[in-house]
Amino acid sequence: MEQTNVSSGRWKTVVILLLLCVLIAVIPLTIHKNSEFGGADGEAEEAIGQLDPEYEAWADPVLEPPGGETESLLFCIQAAAGSGVFFYCFGVLRERRRHQKESDS
């Protein structure tokens, strides 16, 4: 019984912490209603243009996705593959512990 109390307390903490993360990410959206939230590296390009107007980028990317749709596909694959590996491992660890507990008791 004590064990379940401990783990439910942990779960609560996890949920609260994750909600906090969501909150931190959402607040900027409500502050800057008109912003498109472009990348900070694009802004850096502009800043270089102002600081160093003579400078010209002397190399181009080797490959570039043709457009936004392909880019978002690649983006989804990255997130999906990463979390796939990550949570597969987590699942393995969790089940392993469950089996250990069962064989102990």
Partner: protein, 250 residues
């Protein structure tokens, strides 16, 4: 190769395939062609010893702590997911966390130099994000400077008797933030313009570091949550890595 090594290689291969799919609009790495040749080469050379140390460190982990390979795979996958999350920030622009703190805390900072350069290489080649000419500089900021700060902060916080999870939070958040500070300094060195090195660096800090503050906090919280999970489910592995030792890791 032993079976476990094969498993690791397979995991890394899956990881790198995923990395290849990183989005173009990721907002952190220095853009292709935006560092002068001399700077690009210098940053690359600086990275070499760290990468060698990282390879030796991974080799040692494979040889002596086979059990922990699953955690190493998770650390890589974690960096990989986090660097795909473009998050809105209070500055009105977007950026993404680095995810290198977790691996640095558990396996030491040099391991992340190898995992990080794999991420950066694929993003540069296939996604027009970052670049081959700026690979050295980006590796130094994301895969070396950030992880070393994360590791140092973790050890320091543990020595000051901060609770473990608070130490993890501080380490991951500050490592993330420091990565972008280094990026700003690198750009300031290359593009001082009329503002001079300090003025230009301040300008880039205003763009990168300010945007990064809330994201660094998010990375800190997430990393602490992951370590909480590992504490419950992978106690043996963490013990083997020295996580529960007094005064932090070996």
């Amino acid at each position: 190769m032993t079976r476990k090594q094969k498993k690791l290689v397979a995991a890394l291969f899956g990881l790198s395939l995923g990395l290849a799919a990183a989005p173009v609009a990721n907002a952190m790495h220095i853009m292709e062609g935006y560092l002068p040749l001399s700077h690009a080469v210098a940053w690359g050379v600086i990275c070499i010893p760290f990468l060698a140390a990282g390879l030796f460190s991974i080799k040692k982990t494979v040889a002596e702590h086979r059990k922990t390979l699953i955690i190493l795979a998770m650390a890589g996958a974690y960096a990989f997911v986090l660097s795909s999350l473009k998050l809105p920030s209070v500055s009105g622009s977007s950026s993404h966390p680095t995810g290198t703190g977790l691996g640095a805390i558990l396996f030491g900072p040099s391991v992340m130099s190898v995992l990080g350069i794999i991420v950066l290489l694929f993003q540069a080649v296939l996604l027009a994000h970052g670049g081959l000419t700026t690979l050295g500089a980006n590796t130094f900021s994301m895969a070396i400077a950030g992880p070393f700060v994360a590791y140092g902060v973790f050890k320091l916080a543990r020595r000051l008797r901060c609770p473990k999870l608070v130490s993890v939070f501080l380490a991951a958040a500050l490592g993330d933030l420091f990565t972008y500070c280094v990026t700003s300094v690198q750009l300031g060195l290359s593009h001082p313009g009329e503002a001079g090195f300090w003025g230009a660096t301040a300008e880039f800090l205003g763009i990168f570091a300010v945007t990064q503050v809330p994201l660094a906090i998010i990375e800190g919280i997430l990393t602490a949550v992951v370590v909480m999970g590992l504490e419950s489910y992978a106690k043996n592995e963490l013990t083997e890595l020295g996580y529960f030792k007094k005064g932090g890791l070996s």
